[in-house]
């Protein structure tokens, strides 16, 4: 190669700039590593150069495609990085790019503006049905019995703030890791000897330790088809609170396609998180293909997120557009790959609910528990159930648990 080392180093820097523009996390460390890497390989070999830069500048398999694309563009003509048109092309590679004003500014604007009267469509929402208001129940209790679907806008807003305060204490699993605990069953010899040195080598106190406990991973698969849209919206608030409260939570949404929204949901600010989610999900309020979504999950994700005794929450009404094709097999596979599979079905709020639809009949034999999820009370009872140890598998009738 005819270029002087200085020019090459500058090119790597430009290239790093281009990768950043394309949304890859490339910092100064990666840039320097890229420059170093080019000093130990044969620069005449284009393929070798690409492999080398990719090995040092990317850290994830997902980034490979974007990298290769950027590489092809840049090293054909390194001057390209100076051209706005090429850089703009890189913007298209960005996944959750957002050109709308950030939600924070909208909230600031809302905060500054005087309160407006409720918009007409808010008033059109039907009043909460089947509720005997003559009872002297507190407002809070009323709210907790109210179906999410029947809630007026104001109720939803209040329910959301209640939901945000909910915590999900999954039953703890013992790990093999230990922490100091004076009443623990294990002797910590290392700490004992260290302590004894303070007494000139006399062991006066025996340090003890106890196993640490931690909750299992939680995987949520949530249906966002038309029939579930209202519940899904409220549940998203719950999921956001849970995902930010603890580690090892993975959230997937499905309608006709399966989308992993875990990274987006981890954003602390719910408004920002939901906006990113809306951007990621192409099939909001569409049809449902539960079997296909589960198959995709089983093939692409199950091995990556279901390790170490995961608990799976499947939120769907079981009304499948495809007539339950492939549903039973994939439910069975999912059931066998996780430690506990809980089906949350809002249709269960009706006492007379019977598993008539094909989808429900195909899924029911493969779940550990079957629960309603249509109001705050049911959400609270779900939390209570999750914080208890799972009942042993086999023989348990999911219907009995639903009662």
């Amino acid at each position: 190669m005819s270029e002087a080392p200085g020019a090459l180093a500058a090119n790597v820097m430009q290239f790093a700039r281009m990768l950043r523009r394309a949304g890859l996390p490339v910092g100064p460390t990666e840039t320097i590593a890229g420059q170093d890497a080019l000093t130990v390989i044969d620069l005449g070999q284009r393929e070798e150069m690409r492999s080398a830069l990719r090995a040092v500048m990317t850290h994830r398999h997902e980034h490979r495609e974007v990298f290769d694309h950027a590489f092809a563009l840049f090293w054909r003509d390194p001057a390209a990085a100076q051209q706005e048109a090429v850089m703009a092309l890189m913007d298209g590679q960005k996944q959750a790019a957002d050109r709308r004003p950030p939600p924070a500014s909208r909230r600031v604007a809302e905060a500054m503006a005087p309160a407006r009267p409720a918009r007409p469509q808010d008033r059109e929402t039907p009043p909460p049905p089947d509720l005997d208001m003559t009872l002297t129940v507190s407002e809070r209790e009323r709210l907790s019995q109210l179906d999410f679907e029947a809630m007026a806008a104001a109720d939803i807003a209040r329910a959301k703030s209640e939901i945000r305060a909910l915590r999900l204490p999954l039953d703890m699993r013992r790990t093999r890791r230990r922490r100091p605990d004076e009443t623990g069953p294990f002797t910590d010899l290392r700490a004992t000897i260290r302590g004894s040195l303070r007494q000139g080598g006399e062991v006066l106190r025996i340090s003890r330790s106890e196993r640490t406990e931690r909750p299992p991973p939680l995987v949520v698969l949530c249906d966002i088809s038309g029939s579930m849209a209202r519940y899904a919206q409220v549940l998203l608030h719950f999921l956001h609170a849970v995902a930010n409260d603890r580690e090892r939570v993975h959230v997937f949404l499905f309608g006709t396609r399966l989308t992993n929204i875990t990274r987006a949901l981890k954003h602390r600010d719910p408004e920002v998180a939901f906006q990113m989610v809306a951007h990621l999900v192409p099939d909001w309020s569409g049809g449902t293909r539960i079997g296909e979504a589960l198959e995709t999950f089983n093939r692409r994700w199950a091995r990556r997120v279901l390790a170490q005794g995961a608990v799976v929450l499947l939120v769907t009404d079981g009304l499948d557009r495809e007539g339950a094709r492939g549903l039973a097999e994939n439910m069975d596979r999912l059931h066998r790959s996780c430690a506990r599979l809980i089906w949350l079905n809002p249709l269960l709020r009706w006492d007379g609910f019977e598993p008539k639809s094909q989808g429900v009949r195909a899924m029911l034999p493969h779940v550990d528990e079957f629960r309603p999820v249509h109001n705050l009370a049911s959400l609270r009872s779900l939390i209570a159930a999750l914080s208890r140890p799972a009942p042993p598998r086999g023989g348990a009738d999911p219907w009995r648990m639903a009662a």
């Binding site: 170093d36 130990v40 390989i41 393929e47 090995a55 398999h61 303070r198 000139g200 390790a307 097999e329």
Partner: protein
């Protein structure tokens, strides 16, 4: 110990001399890891030869292989080092018996090197031992707290023992970390390593691997085996067969004295290739016969 290879081509030759046929991407990444002295982080489906690289590097470079198999709950005392408490207590008693109870000397006495029992990580960077290839296998099986133990080692090839001090490698070990992606390994680990995704090989490379790893298999059979497995990877299966399965299958067929693939033979030996009953049930019979017909057609063409 031999010197490090000087170019990507030499690295690839070193690997293939020891029976590992690497593609250009992987050979480049291995060469960079050696030349830049950085750990190599290999991710990919099970059975694509990630662990094998460390073994081959150790043989090719004439270094000892130090292997750490990860599991849930793996902690410092099993992975890095442990104090020999029984001997320490004994030393305290002896000091008492001889009447010396000076605290400062006692502390430095019982935290001497001879009381420190090295585990794989410490052994790999022990300056008193010959240089090593350190294989940290299936890191995704360990829990997240364990990854934090590795950060100091991966960045500076040193381990700090609070009671003793810092132990630093005189020759940095070649570090190979593998993961099957049963969970995402933390970014902090990724940033300290060179990253390489190890994919299933293409037909030509898989034939070369089979020739190197299962030399006794007749050429015609081995070509059919590779063609069949390559087509099998295009099917919608729960778990696709890796290179390890291809090698096993070829050896199994050889043990059955097979000259070429027949539908009956494929059905009988599917269990060597596929490890899930759903996949086997789905493929056995018609599907397998169809794939086999395509295979022989491709071979004839």
């Amino acid at each position: 110990m031999r010197t490090l290879p000087a170019s990507v081509a030499e690295t690839a030759a070193l690997l293939s001399d020891h029976g590992y046929i690497a593609d250009a991407d992987l050979a480049t990444a291995v060469h960079l890891a050696l030349a830049m002295g950085r750990p190599l982080f290999l991710e990919g489906e099970p059975g694509t030869g990630k662990t094998e690289i460390a073994k081959v590097l150790s043989a090719g470079l004439g270094r000892r292989l130090v292997r750490l198999q990860c599991y849930d709950g793996l902690d410092l005392s099993a992975a890095a080092y442990e104090w020999d408490h029984a001997r320490q207590l004994m030393a305290i008693r002896l000091a008492e018996a001889s009447g010396s109870t000076d605290r400062a000397t006692l502390a430095s006495d019982i935290y001497g090197r001879e009381f420190l029992r090295p585990r794989p990580l410490l052994s790999a960077i022990d300056p008193d031992q010959p240089p090593a290839v350190l294989l940290i296998d299936e890191l995704d099986r360990a829990d997240e707290p364990f990854e934090a133990f590795l950060l100091e080692l991966l960045a500076d090839f040193q381990i700090t023992v609070p009671e003793y001090g810092t132990i630093r490698a005189s020759t940095p070990p070649v570090v190979v970390i593998t993961s099957n992606r049963t969970r995402e390994v933390h970014d902090a680990i990724r940033r300290r390593c060179l990253y390489q995704w190890v994919d299933y090989p293409d037909g030509a490379r898989e034939r070369a691997i089979l020739a190197a790893r299962a030399p006794g298999v007749p050429g015609r059979l081995s070509a059919q085996v590779v063609e069949f497995v390559q087509r099998l990877r295009g099917e919608e299966l729960f778990k696709l067969p890796g290179v390890a399965e291809t090698i096993d299958w070829a050896n199994a067929l050889r043990a059955l004295d097979a000259r070429e693939l027949t539908p009956g033979l494929v059905n009988e030996t599917l269990g060597v290739l596929l490890k899930y009953q759903d996949d086997i049930a789905r493929l056995r019979g018609e599907q397998a016969a169809r794939l086999l017909a395509e295979t022989t057609q491709a071979a004839a063409a």
